[in-house]
């Protein structure tokens, strides 16, 4: 890597992990003083493109398995491990204007329904859930990322949408959470890996070890993530 600082560890992380990354880094610097972690937050695909183009990354933590697989295929990263998982819930605005009670309500045509786009993980999983539940929903928007979907539900522009558990943790009481049967789908996973071209593979592995450690996992759990072993 070309990082100006010899002690700097460059972590490329999915933007949806923005909040929890702050805490992870804080905890890690506590345990390993002297290490300076620089975090680059962007969409998983952007990160992938940056790494392909030679970006100075040491560790990469993505929000989906598919993108990581592409990095693996190109030998851009070493064997990935799973750092965490995330489940999905049905979210409705705090005042629930549509009177949504269950997944079945998503079939109602009088409601404004939002899903993630089928090309992004949360959208693909949401469609799997609907298929499995036998609900035929016609979404009014296919949001390219889950945060903009959440924002629209919070602001009341949408009557309901399928989002991650972690989103409810950060949205607080602005959203009502309706649980979805976990047997209907595979939860989304967050793979983490050492970047092949990085110039601090050892330090990179140390950081990954920390994320997978009890301390790291508890930080993730506090933000609503499931432990990685749940799906491993």
């Amino acid at each position: 890597g070309s990082s100006s600082d010899d002690n700097e560890l460059s972590v490329f992380a999915a933007a949806s992990l923005a909040e929890v990354m702050d805490e992870l880094v804080a905890a890690y610097t506590e345990t390993s003083p002297g290490v300076n972690v620089a975090v680059n937050l962007a969409g998983s695909t952007t990160l992938k493109a940056q790494i392909f183009e030679g970006a100075p990354a040491d560790v990469v933590l993505l929000a989906n398995q598919a993108t990581m697989s592409q990095l693996v295929d190109e030998d851009a990263v070493q064997a990935p491990q799973l750092a965490a998982a995330n489940r999905m819930v049905l979210a409705v605005p705090a005042d629930n204007p549509g009177g949504v009670k269950s997944l079945d309500d998503l079939a109602r045509s009088d409601l404004l329904i939002g899903l993630c786009d089928s090309q992004v993980p949360c959208g693909a999983t949401a469609r799997n859930i609907l298929d499995a539940a036998g609900v035929v929903a016609s979404p009014d928007t296919n949001e390219p990322d889950v945060k903009s979907l959440v924002a629209k539900i919070v602001s009341g522009e949408l009557d309901a949408g399928i989002v991650y558990t972690t989103d409810l943790a950060s949205a607080g009481d602005e959203l009502i959470r309706i649980d979805i049967d976990p047997s209907l789908y595979e939860p989304n996973v967050y793979p983490v890996a050492v970047v092949t071209d990085g110039d601090k593979p050892a330090e990179a592995q140390l950081f990954i070890d920390f994320v997978l450690s009890e301390r790291g996992q508890s930080v993730l759990a506090a933000s609503g993530f499931l432990p990685a072993e749940e799906v491993n």
């Binding site: 695909t45 009014d140 928007t141 390219p144 924002a151 629209k152 522009e157």
Partner: protein, 266 residues
């Protein structure tokens, strides 16, 4: 025929050098894009139905937004340039804001104002049952919001450049301010009006953040080309590049149609 400007002499080397550098900053990345374009898969990638839908929608909404920007922005520019009122500088400063707001925030702002629960949108929705978001009108509004400031500023500057004698002459010939505007002012600044229109149109065509935030992303209804690009980026980068290429082709085509003769008063 011999008209205007005889032998000009070579353009100054310094200017050429800087201009070449400037062109390079813009052209190099485009060359990069073309170099990485998956030419062999192009047909397959562009054949998807969502591409056609998005293309149609992009054309409609970008031209509509440019048209609305012109209808509303030209008078706004004129008012800013030709009348004196309290708060004029402030108005001009605020009109510029959509340019600096991150488009996503711009979209959020639109929602706050005109969404189903918005300051203005809520009463409208309660009365008429009509909501702008998630409709093609929402896309056009979002595009107009981000595009109009470019047109307003370009035209206002051009208005400030013009000398006022011809307008004064028109007034003494009995032309009302409106007639002066239509028959003297507008023809005088035609190149800048066109430039403002192109800027607004291009900005609208490339608009992404405000649209997705305000109008959502539904193929065939609100998914424009940039949204299709963005969504594709997550899954298939090649498709994203291929779709971007459509944007490139459209805008080059439009600008070539305008040609040199539209760009000058000559």
């Amino acid at each position: 025929m011999a008209e205007l400007g005889g032998p000009k002499g070579p353009a100054p080397k310094g200017l050429i050098a800087l201009a070449v550098l400037g062109a390079a900053v813009i052209l190099l990345p485009i060359v990069g894009l073309l170099a990485r374009t998956p030419w062999s898969r192009l047909g397959e990638l562009l054949g998807k139905p969502i591409v056609g839908d998005a293309l149609r929608l992009s054309l409609i909404t970008s031209f509509a937004a440019a048209g609305i920007s012109l209808c509303l922005g030209l008078p706004l520019a004129w008012i800013l340039s030709r009348t004196r009122f309290w708060g004029r500088s402030l108005l001009r400063a605020f009109v510029t804001l959509p340019m600096v707001l991150p488009p996503v925030v711009g979209g959020a702002a639109l929602l706050f104002a005109l969404g189903r629960r918005g300051v203005v949108g809520e009463p409208i929705y309660d009365l008429t049952g009509f909501a702008l978001p998630f409709s093609v009108w929402g896309v056009i509004l979002a595009n107009t919001f981000v595009a109009m400031p470019f047109l307003v500023l370009t035209i206002e500057a051009a208005l400030n450049n013009t000398d006022h004698r011809q307008e004064a002459a028109a007034a003494t010939l009995g032309a009302s301010r409106l007639a002066v505007f239509n028959r003297v002012t507008v023809p005088m600044i035609r190149p800048s009006i066109l430039a403002g229109l192109v800027l607004a149109w291009a900005r609208a065509l490339g608009e992404f953040g405000a649209t997705i935030t305000f109008a959502g992303n539904l193929s065939g209804r609100t998914q424009t080309l940039p949204l299709a690009v963005f969504v594709s980026l997550e899954a298939d980068r090649d498709a994203a590049i291929a779709i971007s290429l459509i944007l490139v082709v459209i805008s080059v085509a439009v600008l070539l149609i305008l040609r040199n003769r539209w760009w000058s008063t000559q």
